[in-house]
Amino acid sequence: MPGSKSIIPFGPQHPVFPEPLQLRLVLEDEKVVEALPAIGYVHRGIEKLAEKKEYTQNIFLVERICGICSFMHALAYCQGIEMLMDVTVPDRARYLRVIWSELHRLHSHLLWLGLLADSFGFESLFMQSWRSREAVMDIMEATAGGRVIISTCIIGGVRRDISEELMAEVLKTVDVLERDLEIIRPVVFDDYSVKQRLVGTGRITSEQAYDLGSVGPVARACGIARDFRETGYAAYKEIKVTPVTETGGDAYARARVRIREMYQSIDIVRQAVRDIPAGDIAVPARGNPEGEVISRVEQPRGEVIYYIKGDGTKNLERLRVRTPTFANMAPLLTMLPGCELANVPVIVLSIDPCISCTER
C-alpha cells in the first residue's frame, strides 16, 4: 500500500548499536517521517550515587559514566572540585592530563570509525581502525595501568607520572597511528562506496545545529567553530587548538572532522611530550568543597558540563552531568525525518552516540 504509515521500533538491540537505544520510527514506505527516541535501558542513577559517596571517591564513579571518555569525565570533575577548593595544579600534571586526554580522543575516534564502517557494512575498515586502536590501548595500559578506565586523574593533579622511556613509547605509538591513518584517511575521504553512503546523509544546516545546541564534531561539521579546548583549560593554554571545521553538515563532514581531529590529537600529543616541564605531579587538596561551580571539558563527542554543588562536607549536595550525546540527541531527531530506513544506522552512528553517557 503506497503512502501508508508504519511504526518500526528500531533497537534497543540492533546489530549496529553498541549500546541500547530505541528509536520509534514512523515510516511512510521506506522513508522516515518521524523519529522518537526511547531511552532508559542503562540509567544507573550515578548522579544520585554521587551524593552518597565522598567527593574523592566520586572520581572513580564519574569515570564509569562512560568508558570511552572516562579520563575526560574525571578531568572535568577534578577541575570543578579544584576550582571550588582553589587548588592550583602543577604544570607537569596539566601536560600529563592533556596527553591522556588526547590519547583518549584518538582511541574514541578510532572506535567510532570502526562502528560507523560497521553500520554500512564495511568490515575491513572496521577491523583496520580497531587494530590501530589497540596501539593506543596498549600505551594507555603501559602509562596509566588501565586500558580504558585509566583512573589517573585526582584532585590536585594526577596519580602517575610518565617516565622518559614511556614518553618515547608514546611518541612511537602516535607515529604508528599516523602511518595507519594514512591508510584509513583516503578510504574515508575519497572511496566511492563510502561517499555514496555518507555524503548528504543526515544533513542539517548550520542554523539548525546552532539552535538545537549541538556540540563537538556534529557542530563543527556544520561550520560552527566551537571547541572548548580553545578556552585553555589544563595545558591547552600553552598548546593552542584551532577547531577543525567542515561545512557539509552531513555524515561525511562529521567523519572528515573526526579524521582530521585525530591528526590534530597526534600533533598535540607530540607538542605536549616535547614541552612537558619537570616537577611535581600533584598537590595535596585539603578540606571539603563548598559552593557551586560549572566545569567544562571538550570530550571526543563534544563538550561535557559538570555542575558541582558542595556544602562544605565530604559529600556533594548535587552533581549534575550534561554529556555531549545528550546535547546531540535533539539534532539527531532533526536529521532522521526524511531519510531512508537503510540510512538510519549511519545517521545515528554519525553523531557518535554514547547512551551510557546520555542516561548516566
Binding site: 532508559g40 576550582m83 572548548f228 561551580v293 555542575y307 554543588k309 548535587r318 549534575r320
Partner: protein, 134 residues
C-alpha cells in the same frame, strides 16, 4: 564560590526571559534541578561564545513548571528527564513522555529527590560495615 552570570527568575517571567535569550542568540545548554527540601532549585544554562549565563528559578513543591521546549526544542529531553527524576509536573512540553522517559512503570517515584532511592543506596552502602567502632 557561587555561579557567575546568574539571574533569578520566577515561573511567571521565565518564558519571557528565555525568549529574550533566544533572541540574543544564546544556545541552550542544559538544566539542573536540585531538591532543596521545601522546593526545587532549577538552573537554566545558556551559552554564547564559551560564556555561560544562568537563570535561577525557585519552584515550590507541588507547583507546575512551564516548559521552554517551545522556544528551545532541545530542552524537551532534559525537561522530560527532570519530570521523571524529580516528579515535577511540567506543562506544555512539545513531546511529553509522561514520566516514562528514563523510568518504567515499576521504577521508584522521584528517584533524584531528597528521599527518593536514598534508602536503597544506604542499604547497599552499608554492605561494608564500619569496623572502627568496635
Amino acid at each position: 564560590m557561587s555561579l557567575m552570570n546568574t539571574v533569578a527568575v520566577s515561573p511567571d517571567s521565565l518564558l519571557q526571559e528565555v525568549a529574550g535569550k533566544y533572541r540574543q542568540r544564546y544556545r541552550f545548554v542544559t538544566m539542573t534541578c536540585t531538591d532543596i527540601g521545601d522546593g526545587y532549585d532549577i538552573l537554566y544554562h545558556f551559552d554564547k561564545d564559551y560564556e555561560l549565563c544562568n537563570l535561577r528559578l525557585y519552584l515550590k513543591k507541588g507547583e507546575e513548571l512551564p516548559s521552554i521546549s517551545s522556544i528551545f526544542f532541545a530542552a524537551l529531553l532534559v525537561e522530560n528527564e527532570i519530570k521523571d527524576l524529580f516528579s515535577i509536573p511540567i506543562r506544555d512540553l512539545v513531546i511529553d513522555y509522561g514520566g516514562r522517559f528514563l523510568l518504567t512503570e515499576d521504577a521508584p517515584v522521584a528517584p533524584m529527590g531528597r528521599e527518593g532511592c536514598s534508602r536503597a543506596i544506604d542499604i547497599r552502602l552499608q554492605g561494608a560495615p564500619e569496623e572502627e567502632d568496635k
